[in-house]
Symmetry: C2
């Protein structure tokens, strides 16, 4: 698969969990969209552009164990979360709590606090990661969790927590930003109600690619979009004064799609044809396992593993703690090994299974050992900018 | 200016009020963004991508009489409207009415009904277009109007209605979707509080380009974003559990920008360097005036003018009513004259002043006369698809 991506020479890119690399088919396809669809066909292209959110959504559905017509590409993760949380709260009248964890990605928390403030009398309640199930009670309308922790890569079990939420009478919203394209997710099998995800990480949809929303089929005509717009209307071109939601997942659309963004994502997703998530996950586990083993063996006295040691409990990233983490990451970047830093002390390395090789892992460990064991980072101040421009 | 745009051969494009044409500089710039910024520099590009929403916003500010740091490129028109309406309602406690007109673009109404439902006890009240000022009272928190009517091109006076809103103690939200790039707008001079606009019409930012938000400087630290997200945080990379709004207009950001969309818009806006809106407006008036005169002279018995006859009262589009409007528009498209149809009977023609010529107006009238006077449309069913593929 590696051959289908553009990977800069000499770079060991362990940041695909932040921004995925460029699929080789994207430039030509985008040129076509810009020059032919926009430049020449103009408004004549709207028919196909309008159908893109659900059509591209179907390509994502397959990667998260969802069916056709259960996923739509829309807005951004933050706005998508507001929509799903509002929809879930309305679908559980008499309950007024959004349960989540304080370690959740901040924008998820801001989205929750935002919808809570808008609706009024809604509480955002925080559970510890290991006591989520016990924290569910009859006041909880919706449990919102990010499956893979963005700092440590620690992973929640979707099946058991979805079941726990349902047993407590709550709906579940899974944030799959760090899952889709890296982890086996089975929305249908596990009875997931609602989910969002990001398309610019493991899906390689490009910087600021639109997000996606998954809505379980049985719920689609029950839940309502709290941010309605004309593209989610049953008949947008009737231009009626009163909103009538479209049938199906399309009701979670508000506006016309960002055509350039969704077109890049569309072609980026073609890479996944014929790829099984089981194979991707196996490669991911092998990569992270090798990295952890090698780092602990060579640098176990200096770096503390922040990710779960048990492969079944972590996503496709590995984080190590070090008081000088920021400088270490900068020094690595200067050596062509790109990870990233998360305050206060995390060196974070993502392993995108489609394009990383075991040899990349060895090279990364070698560079890390050189930087850490020789304390070279102490004198250095680099940025990726210097490297790539 | 026409030379800076790609205009398909033989096409008279009177639909730039729906989707603007392709600026010639866009393809090369987008190729650079995709291949170099994304493909090669990867996460190293985030510094410049992150600053794009406010930097590109400044280019728009000049076109609507706003100052630097008063405009940010963000989301879509619908989501931007929800943000501004929520912010305005919170800024006027004790008042609970959004006043607007039923002729407003539907998504504006859905956004208003959406935020009203979320907040509860908020009423969306409808005034007639000619009694807006009289309908303002002490219950109105915010007056939301679209300056140029999307069906008829009839134009509200921003100065007097903004003044009327303020005298009634309300805030004003102007929708500038059909104004920006076609009409002289003076936000600062006229005391406009809040505004949104679309970038894929007269600004030629490309299909589904992001929207913009204008927030008057004095209000920026007073109003709050009801859909907060991490990019609108004072320090996004601190990843704090609690939201602290950024100073300035940047607080209306939620997520990372759609880089492909905003990059196309960025370069599309360079076309406007050195262009004054007074010159644009003069050309626009001359184009629409010529079109109306010629159509009324030749087809005045068959087509009824739906737009204001007085040039000062209309935007940059002209609509005519005809019971067979849909077929007429289709027959025109088959002849290479692209306007559009709005139910039930409007033939709508937009005049983008930067790239339309007077000769285009003559050609359009000629085609319209041929179609209407000979009743040729009766036998025809065409679509732009057939023309351009």
């Amino acid at each position: 698969m590696r051959g289908r991506f553009h990977l800069p020479d000499g770079l060991v890119y362990l940041d695909g969990n932040s921004l995925g690399v460029l699929p080789k088919d994207v430039p030509a396809r985008l040129a076509e969209v810009i020059e032919l669809e926009w430049g020449t066909a103009l408004v004549g292209s709207w028919d196909s552009w309008m159908s893109a959110p659900v059509r591209v959504g179907d390509k994502i559905a397959r990667l998260i164990g969802a069916g056709e017509g259960e996923v739509v590409v829309v807005d951004t993760t933050t706005i998508a979360l507001v929509k799903l949380l509002g929809a879930a709260l309305w679908a559980r009248p008499g309950r007024n709590v959004i349960l989540t964890t304080a370690e959740n990605f901040p924008t998820d928390l801001y989205a929750a606090e935002g919808i809570a403030r808008l609706l009024g009398e809604v509480e955002v309640r925080y559970a510890e990661a290991d006591t989520v199930a016990e924290s569910l009670d009859e006041t909880v309308a919706v449990l919102m969790l990010t499956q893979v922790d963005f700092r440590t890569g620690a992973m929640f079990d979707i099946a058991s927590l979805t079941k726990a939420a349902h047993e407590a009478g709550a709906l579940i919203v899974w944030d799959l930003c760090h899952s889709v394209g890296a982890v086996v997710v089975e929305c249908e099998r596990d009875g997931v109600d609602l989910a969002v995800g990001c398309c610019y990480k493991y899906l390689n949809g490009g910087p600021g690619a639109p997000a996606f929303v998954y809505v379980r089929r049985e719920l689609q005509d029950v839940v309502e979009n709290p941010l309605p717009g004309w593209l989610g209307h049953e008949a947008p071109f009737d231009f009626t004064t009163t909103y009538r939601p479209a049938p199906g997942v399309g009701r979670f659309l508000s506006s016309s799609p960002c055509v350039l963004g969704i077109s890049a994502l569309d072609v980026a997703l073609d890479v996944w044809e014929g790829v099984t998530m089981e194979a991707v996950r196996a490669k991911s586990e092998a990569l992270t396992e090798l990295f952890i083993e090698a780092v602990l063996e060579r640098l176990g006295d200096e770096l503390e593993l922040a990710s779960p040691r048990n492969r079944a409990e972590r996503g496709s990233q590995v984080s190590f703690r070090h008081a000088q983490g920021y400088r270490i990451v900068q020094a690595l970047i200067a050596r062509g090994v790109v990870g990233d830093f998360r305050a206060p002390d995390l060196c974070r390395f993502g392993f995108a299974p489609l394009y990383l090789r075991f040899t990349d892992v060895f090279d990364a460990v070698e560079a890390l050992a050189e930087v850490v064991s020789s304390h070279q980072y102490e004198a250095e101040r680099y940025s990726i900018r210097r490297l790539v421009t």
